[in-house]
């Protein structure tokens, strides 16, 4: 048995700020990813939360898609 197999079910034990605190980072994080810049280490706890929380992961994917769509729209 590996930790990976349990992590998938039980989440990781790293610092996880939870959904509400994670929302403070989601917009800045999506812009960094959309630009293709390296993600600073101060996002580590937020990324732990994304790994543990499917709803926040989906919302982040949604916001990233929106950021990219709006950029494409401006470029057209």
């Amino acid at each position: 048995m590996t930790d990976y197999r349990l992590d998938a079910l039980l989440g990781t034990s790293g610092r996880d700020p939870g959904c509400d605190a994670g929302l403070d980072f989601i917009d800045e994080y999506c812009e960094i990813v959309a630009r293709g810049d390296p993600v600073p280490t101060r996002f580590a706890d937020f990324l732990t939360h994304l790994g543990n929380c499917r709803a926040c992961r989906e919302d982040t994917e949604g916001l990233l898609a929106a950021v990219r769509e709006e950029e494409d729209r401006k470029a057209r």
Partner: protein, 208 residues
């Protein structure tokens, strides 16, 4: 307000929304148009995951999400600090509103209840995560840990989210609480289970 240096477009949005002359109404209308567009984009992105019957009324949900997001944005305008562009900050509100509504809409005809038969159904109907655990004794150890260490509410939330893929927004609505509170309960339940499984000799998880 401790605001970072804003890009010109974000500054213009902020100025337009804080302007108490007639220009404010026009800015609000443009913002609402953006929010509806983003909500519809999110609905389109998620459409494949919605049951066929749930695709009705989706456009109404998008407009409702945009309306509520607009109210939240105007109420929280003073908290915008410029760490992201204004439109990205604003879109965050409508993505959260739209996605929560869409998840709840998709689950509106499904029950959420504590169902311990899920453990018996695992061999034939296991989510991918659990299928990988089938070959050893871990499922049995996990079941025992859930029964021994979690409260009824923790069991309901842990089993619903991790074993039956119930979205936490749906649980929050059905249990009359917030998404953050549901996640906190899930987080605490997971920590208990990690500790119990580690003490039982499974895995090498660090304790929270």
């Amino acid at each position: 307000m401790d605001t970072l240096a804003l890009d010109a477009e974000s500054a213009a949005w902020l100025h337009g929304l804080q302007d108490h002359s007639g220009a404010r109404d026009g800015t609000i209308a443009r913002l609402h148009e953006l929010l509806v567009r983003v909500a519809r984009g999110e609905a389109a992105r998620r459409r494949a995951r919605l049951p066929a019957r749930a695709t009705e009324e989706v456009d109404d949900l998008c407009v409702q999400a945009a309306n509520d997001a607009l109210m939240a944005i105007l109420a929280k305008l003073h908290t915008y600090r410029g760490s992201a562009r204004f439109t990205t900050w604003a879109c965050k509100f409508v993505i959260l509103e739209a996605s929560a509504r869409l998840r709840r809409h998709a689950w509106r005809e499904r029950k959420v209840e504590l169902d311990d038969t899920i453990w018996d159904r695992l061999p034939d109907n296991a989510p991918p995560i659990l299928e990988r655990l089938e070959d050893d004794q871990l499922i049995g150890a996990l079941h025992r840990a859930v029964a021994a260490h979690l409260t009824t509410r923790q069991r309901l939330i842990f089993q619903s989210v991790t074993m039956e893929d119930v979205p936490i927004d749906v649980l929050a609505e059905r249990l009359g609480t917030t998404r953050g509170a549901i996640y906190k309960t899930l987080h605490d339940a997971r920590a208990k289970l990690r500790l119990a499984l580690t003490n039982a000799g499974y895995g090498e998880h660090a304790h929270d």
